[in-house]
Amino acid sequence: MRRTNDVQTMHIPPDAVHVASIRAFLGAVGRHLGCSDETIEDLRLAVTEACGQALEQGAAPDGVDLRASVEGGRLAVEIEPAGTFERGELDGAEGVSRRELIRALFPDAGLEEREGRGVLRLTAPIG
């Protein structure tokens, strides 16, 4: 991927076993672009949470798409669909949700609605 508007994409079937592949893919993209180790780990966790939310809610019957690109000198990542984030609290953990975890890692993370599907979008620093 060049530091332009190239978009790297990956699609996984709607099965939790494939989420590890999307983690590995995004990790490779981050390393290629020169993201720090900490940023790469944060990205891996954020996309895992988004994929998990979509899969556990049954919001991704056709699977999950990841898109990664460079925008304004940052790595922009989109996960579609990403579920509604209105539920999904941790089992027994008071007040902790996937949404809060993602936003703790990436304060700019936001959920957009596109053609009736939730899309999680976040950006991460490069270098």
Binding site: A20, L90, D91, V96
Partner: protein, 111 residues
Amino acid sequence: MDVIRQTRTQGGWSVIEVEGELDLHTSPALRDHVLGLIDQGARRLAIDMSKVDFMDSSSLGALITCLKRLRESDGRLVLVGMDGPPMKVMTLTGLDRVFEFIDPGAELPDD
């Protein structure tokens, strides 16, 4: 992928060595294994996390389920060797105040 490397006994403890990545696909196996040990009578469980390099919120949920079940049985759960990204998840969620941690190589408590 099997994330449970081995289970052994050490003193009065059952020590479960885990490796790899814990997520919504792999953490149910760990949860079920631990709950199975509790059903068999284990009350002091140590989960060695020193070879775990990734953990998500599903995994935290699995660990909380195990912790709650043990506490209901007057048992004790310790996490050994938590470090790096898995420990960061614990800290971000505030669960570092809920679980008991032990450094790798440290002796397991007597009581």
